[in-house]
């Protein structure tokens, strides 16, 4: 049930190669990678670049799998900077041993300071270089969160470090390991767990044009929103705490493809829009990118008087 035929691997790999702009020569290699993922319980190596650790925190807020079971039963978390017992020189050796063995899924959280390598280092090595080494030996790269996927806030306009997404950095450096993007600020734990499980048990899941799993990012937030009837009736919230559609408070639901209006957060207890907070578009490519596209909007004093 869970395994794919050789033929489907090749088909999937062909699509992946096309998606990532790779030549036909890469197809057998990608197919092999995908097949091995399907058959074994590959270890996970988790690296952090210019990140806030919010996606790691979010993973530990998982509800679908109890966090204790997650790290002792479902994945072999071979290294994670916030959880691993190992520290200092021993931690550097541990990571290097994992990279030398290869064959893991690399989860990367955070951006890369492309114009200022000194702005992020692990054991004295610039993060950008460590990421390349680790990605080359990985079966697949999973970019978790907006920073690793699209640059996020570290890569926003006026940033002083020239930060770019981990995925863009790998592309710029010619690293062709298959990559899956799971944006969000933070990434929803279901999105990450669903994707990792899919990669481990079946292979790389169907991805959209941006490289995001279609299962979570194919539908418009606005279409699934509980406030959509208010939008239809043109009942708009004028300020925070009002009933109605949040469109006029700067809600980016109409341009954001995520499923959080239905999925909800923190074990289903709430979500941004349900709690009266406009969607900030954190699952999208343009999240935080432009200084003149605000997260939420409120009329200026002068405008209100006028």
């Amino acid at each position: 049930m869970n395994s794919l035929s050789r033929r489907s691997f090749i088909e999937l790999s062909t699509k992946l190669c096309a998606l990532m702009g790779l030549g036909a020569g890469a197809i057998p290699r990608v197919a092999e990678a995908v097949e091995e993922l399907a058959s074994g319980n590959a270890p996970v190596l988790w690296l952090q670049g210019q990140s806030c650790s919010g996606c790691s925190v979010s993973l530990l807020d998982a509800d679908a799998i109890a966090p204790a079971h997650l790290i002792t039963r479902y994945i072999n978390l071979s290294f994670h900077q916030t959880l691993s017992a190992t520290t200092g020189t021993q931690a550097v050796e541990t990571v290097n041993k994992i990279i030398a063995a290869g064959g893991y899924i690399l989860v990367v959280e955070g951006a890369v300071p492309a114009a200022m390598p000194r702005a992020c280092a692990f054991g004295g090595e610039p993060f950008g270089e460590q990421l390349i080494r680790a990605a080359k030996a990985a079966k697949a790269v999973v970019a978790v969160g907006s920073c690793a996927s699209f640059g996020g806030i570290p890569g926003a306009e006026n940033n002083p470090t020239g930060a770019i997404s981990a995925v863009q950095h790998l592309k710029n450096q010619g690293v062709s390991t298959p990559a899956i993007l799971i944006p969000g600020c933070p990434c929803h734990p279901d999105w990450l767990l669903g994707t990792l499980t899919h990669v481990l048990k079946v292979g790389i899941p169907p991805l959209d044009a941006l490289g995001r799993p279609k299962a979570f990012f194919s539908r418009l937030m606005h279409d699934q929103c509980a406030r959509f009837p208010d939008y239809e009736r043109e009942k708009f919230a004028k300020t925070f705490g009002d009933e109605g559609c949040l469109f006029k408070l700067g809600c980016l639901g109409p341009i954001t493809h995520t499923d959080c209006a239905l999925r909800q957060w923190n074990g289903g207890v709430n979500s941004c829009i349900r709690a009266g907070a406009p969607c900030t578009g954190c699952g999208g490519e343009q999240f935080a990118a432009k200084a003149n596209l605000p997260f939420i909007t409120k009329k200026r004093a002068a405008q209100q008087q006028g």
């Binding site: 919010g54 290294f79 200022m116 940033n159 705490g241």
Partner: protein, 504 residues
């Protein structure tokens, strides 16, 4: 004999921390604490809509986002001359409290616990607890497998003396597993009013966007009672067990001796009194906090901007190749003095406060149980104990804030963003005193500066060459085995460092 030890990276903290200690005759002669990651939030904020600030600054840190959001809305409320709605104040207390509880539980078990608890002992477990039996079988299976790093993330680790009392050790291990559930429950509880966590959606100047209903109060209370039970049954007893097994850590990790708390959590809506009081303890004497006494030095920091500025006039110009600089952290000082911030600082400030009898009796009770004196609290174990006592005190106080809420009452007071305005927001993060400064020009953010708890605690040397609190706490420390410098790791983690916060 001298030797340099590089603890780089220090794991089980938030972010990118590198600590270099120079050992002479078995003791730390000097320590250099360095932040290894910089993003430039203050530059990114300039020119943006002021309402972006509480969203963007929360992304400084995924462990302390709520506190950054709070500092930001407090700074904006000062700039807008805005009084938040009473229900909004209470709901924000409850969101911030939920994050404190999540953070303190995570710190003791997930981050520091593995420095004291012996995970390897699980292979000898013969008891009937199903979770521990499953952990035993998993660890055994991993060790016998061809996995590259067996039993990761728990192994490998430093060779050291860990907890030797099997009962206490197995109990703490069981509670490590429980803590994973409890910290997620604390976030679920906070999300009832925050929309989601980490990165709360609902925080705005004037209150919150979420409503307060009787059902939400009830949901929060139910989660809270489970957490309070865990704190009483597991967290506090485990801290006592560790403290009794490692009594030497009451004599290790003594910091600079100056403590500061900005205070946080309005006791009730509309009250200026803070549940966690503010104050500075300098040379053992208490004094009120003056925002004007805070400055940041950058002589040894990787910035070319002016040194010694007040945050309201502060600049952040990166200079990654600056000669003589070794950290991305600035060096904040109070009237020129080094300050330790955090739960220990807050507990000591409250302990000195004659109005605060509850904290005094809680501290005295714990000290009596451990056969210790108040002076011993300035130590590794004192920091852990203070965090646990504070966790209980905040969780208990949440009951009173829930009781003060008005179901269906307003949670938000409307406002307009002014053309110009200045403000600062001083609050407490789980890790200590947190301040944001905003200067609004032409309806946009003109300048924004953050001085963050770990910026204080992990600061590098200042312009006069005086080391920061953690650097001072490491000096003189005996390190038995430079290959396994567990003593240094324990001192470092006792501060609960958060590097994404410290450098932003």
């Amino acid at each position: 004999m001298s030797k340099t030890i590089d603890l780089n990276p220090v794991t089980r903290i938030e972010g990118h921390l590198a600590v270099k200690v120079e050992i002479q005759d078995g003791k730390v002669a000097s320590a250099y604490v360095a932040g290894e990651m910089f993003r430039g939030f203050e530059k990114i904020l300039a020119g943006r809509d002021p309402l972006d600030a509480q969203h963007i600054t929360q992304r400084i840190c995924g462990v302390c986002p709520v506190e950054h959001g709070m500092a930001s809305v407090l700074a904006q409320e000062m700039a807008y001359q805005l009084a938040p709605a009473p229900n909004g104040v209470l709901a924000r207390n409850l969101i911030q409290a939920a994050n404190f509880i999540m953070s303190h539980i995570s710190h003791f078990y997930l981050l520091s616990g593995l420095d004291f608890v012996d995970v390897a002992m699980i292979v000898d477990y013969k008891g009937g607890d199903s979770a521990l039996a499953a952990l035993r079988d998993w660890v055994k299976g991993q060790i016998n497998s061809r996995t590259v790093i067996p039993a990761a993330p728990f192994l490998p680790r430093y060779a050291a003396k860990y907890l030797q009392d099997a009962d206490a050790n197995f109990s703490a291990l069981r509670h490590y597993l429980d803590a994973l559930e409890m910290r997620a429950l604390a976030h679920r509880m906070g999300a009832i009013f925050a929309g989601k966590l980490p990165h709360a959606a609902t925080l705005v100047p004037g209150g919150i966007t979420e409503k307060v209903t009787a059902l939400k109060i009830c949901e929060y209370r139910s989660a809270l009672d489970t957490l309070r039970e865990f704190i009483d049954r597991a967290y506090l007893p485990d801290v006592v067990a560790v403290a009794k097994s490692f009594p030497e850590y009451f004599n290790v990790g003594r910091g600079c001796g100056n403590f500061m708390a900005y205070g946080a959590f309005p006791v009730s809506a509309g009250s200026d009194a803070k549940f966690l009081p503010s104050g500075v303890l300098m040379d053992g004497k208490a004094q009120p906090v003056s925002e004007r006494a805070i400055t940041e030095d950058v002589a040894r920091s990787l910035y070319s901007s002016a040194s010694g500025r007040r945050p309201s006039e502060g600049e952040t110009v990166a200079d990654p190749n600056k000669s003589g600089a070794y950290s991305w952290l600035k060096a904040p000082r109070y009237n020129g003095a080094v300050m330790e911030v955090g739960a220990l600082a807050r507990v000591l400030v409250a302990y000195q406060d004659s109005q605060n009898g509850t904290m005094k009796s809680a501290v005295d009770g714990l000290l009596k149980n451990l056969g210790r004196e108040a002076g011993d609290l300035n130590s590794v174990m004192g920091r852990h104990a203070a965090r646990a006592l504070e966790c209980k005190s905040i969780a208990d106080q949440c009951v009173r804030w829930l009781d003060q809420m008005t179901p269906d009452g307003a949670t938000f007071t409307d406002f307009s963003i002014p053309e110009t305005g200045r403000g600062h927001g001083l609050t407490e993060a789980a890790r200590g005193a947190l301040g944001h400064w905003i200067d609004i020009r032409d309806f946009k953010i003109g300048n924004y500066q953050c001085v963050v708890p770990t910026t204080w605690n992990c600061s590098p040397r200042d312009d006069r060459g005086v080391p920061g609190p953690m650097e001072q706490a490491l000096a003189g420390l005996a390190v038995a085995d430079p290959e396994n410098p567990i003593e240094a790791a324990r001192v470092i983690r006792s501060f609960d460092p958060c590097l994404a916060c410290a450098v932003h």
